[in-house]
Symmetry: C2
Subunit: 344 residues, 2 copies
């Protein structure tokens, strides 16, 4: 069992820096595209054998130090009563978005062991095959609320912010409902075998520090406090978070995600070294020539030095067009370069 990743989450010494990539099970791999040519995204998510298969594809092909269960952050919205569809080329679409107090009140409680049983089934199947730790995950309340309210991706979060500012009590009720569902969902994932949890607050960078403090922080703090009792490390991830990092740490998590807009050592110093960090290569770097990729990997690994508690990752998900050779090269570079630094 390769436990570098678990050790790094807990800031324990490792022989080499662990690496995994967000969306590592994805379209950049032909094996994944072959599955998706035959099955919709939702079918893959809801068929434990298929979810298991695609989860394992990058593990079998590359030297990744962690696996993440294949699923989508929007899955828990279905049993809450939302009508979810993935429209080809357009991304997720929610046909009955949440706009009013009535809509929020109508959201159904979720028993994840029942309505999301397929995720737990997939986790069990994957665990039986793995020799690296398995990450379970969920979207964070703000990011999920933004999809529920906007009905899909958004540029300006107009309706989300309208609710936050104009009906803060309705917003808080929605965030509380989401927090309840997510805590139960993640608890079920741990029971099924998830060894680490990651919370994706992917779009949180749309908020001002004041709005984060008022509309998101209390809910994140409550959620992360509850996750803390599950006994597994928790990764708290976001993008565009340069001015939110300290509040994210205060909200909780054993590991804080860093995107490429911050210099890793400066962001870690700001956070304090009593927390681990994950990141922070720009996913677009993987389209550069290998010599250029190497400079950037060098830069991150050098900024970390011998300090324990760094998990190498991209700052956001890997893109579908990414060359396989770049993925392979980065993993090898990180392992070799960090091993050399750590042994020095």
């Amino acid at each position: 069992m390769n436990d570098r990743f678990l050790k790094a989450c807990l800031r324990q010494p490792v022989d080499a820096t662990p690496v995994w990539f967000m969306r590592q099970a994805g379209r950049y791999m032909k094996a994944f595209r072959d599955i998706r040519a035959k099955h919709s995204l939702l079918t893959v998510c809801k068929t434990p054998e298929l979810a298991c298969e695609v989860t394992l594809q990058p593990i079998n092909r590359f030297d990744f130090d962690a696996s993440i269960i294949f699923a989508d952050i929007l899955l828990p919205l279905e049993p809450m009563g939302l009508n979810l569809e993935f429209v080809k080329g357009e991304g997720p679409c929610i046909h009955n978005p949440i706009r009013s107090e009535k809509d929020v009140d109508a959201l159904k409680p979720v028993v994840p062991q029942e309505s999301l049983a397929y995720v737990m089934e997939a986790i069990k199947l994957v665990r039986a095959e793995l020799n690296v730790p398995l990450i379970g995950f969920a979207g964070a309340p703000f990011t999920l609320a933004s999809y529920m309210i906007e009905g899909g991706s958004s540029r300006n979060y107009l309706d989300t912010k309208k609710m936050m500012y104009g009906a803060p009590d309705v917003w808080d009720r929605l965030m509380k409902k989401l927090t309840r569902v997510l805590a139960d969902y993640l608890s079920a994932q741990v029971d099924a075998g998830a060894q680490v949890l990651q919370i994706f607050d992917s779009w949180i960078g749309a908020l001002s520090p004041g709005d984060y403090r008022r509309y998101v922080f209390p809910h994140m703090k409550r959620l992360l406090s509850e996750l803390h009792t599950f006994g597994v490390p928790v990764i708290h991830f976001g993008t565009g978070t340069a001015t939110l990092l300290q509040m994210q740490k205060e909200a909780g998590g054993d590991v804080i995600g860093l995107d490429w807009r911050v210099n890793l050592d400066e962001a870690w110093a700001l956070l304090g070294h009593d927390v681990a960090v994950q990141g922070n290569l720009d996913p677009l770097t993987l389209f550069a020539p290998i010599s250029e990729i190497e400079k950037r990997v060098d830069d991150i690994v050098t900024r970390v030095g011998k300090r324990p508690g760094h998990i190498f990752n991209l700052g956001h998900g890997i893109l579908p067009e990414t060359p396989l050779e770049s993925v392979e090269a980065v993993i090898q570079m990180v392992h070799e370069k960090s091993a050399k630094i750590l042994a020095a």
Copy 2:
């Protein structure tokens, strides 16, 4: 002549904080929608009488302290040889995007006094009518290059970064050509009557600090050094710039734009108080109830205090759906609250 805005650009004392909004001539005003119902965006830009009319609409309706010439940052790309179209509901589309060295070499030099004469004409018409200062503007080289390369708006800047990383010499040549065109274009705007210049590096927040330093900073420094010789204040604007601000200041500009992701006083302290700042209300705030808007205006005005050199603005352009009452209320609040603080 109301010269609060000019004074604030130069960090001179004012009686009240000047206010203007990016995209203040825009769809949130019925008068603007009426014009656009009859004429395409490009037609309005290219017809000096129409550009003048829409530029003046917000000035005649609201108590703004500055005017900005109505134009689009992509206009200079046309005489460079790009085929530009604004597709309804989809935004700008460039039908012959730049992808190769050959494409960059084929870009034409621009004599703005000829091919962009309509902008200078509009500036002259507007100046004759105004009793507040007039801002001329252009997109920054990175932001324009991203449109030229992607062919439109982008989420990940895949092809832009591919060129930056994979063909840095071609990238530098493109940035140099753009810098030349932009300096000449802005010089012509000043000759026509623009009293302040704003450079929009709207999408610069997509870059890591290291990439900004390597691929953008030298070009911005050259451009801003040249603009500095024109004898008018220059506003250097971007979004998502929390970790780029100090380099932006180093590149140049009398005023640095701040979006809502930073707290104004902290960002200003980071920049140093030897530069003015502009911002930083989230445009989405204008959809909040007036009482909530007031809290946020109070917060910004209080963070500034008596320090000279603040121009109140949104952190990015005003949205088409924005209520007119909010615009009116914010302008009045800023004037009254700041006047009270400054007089105390």
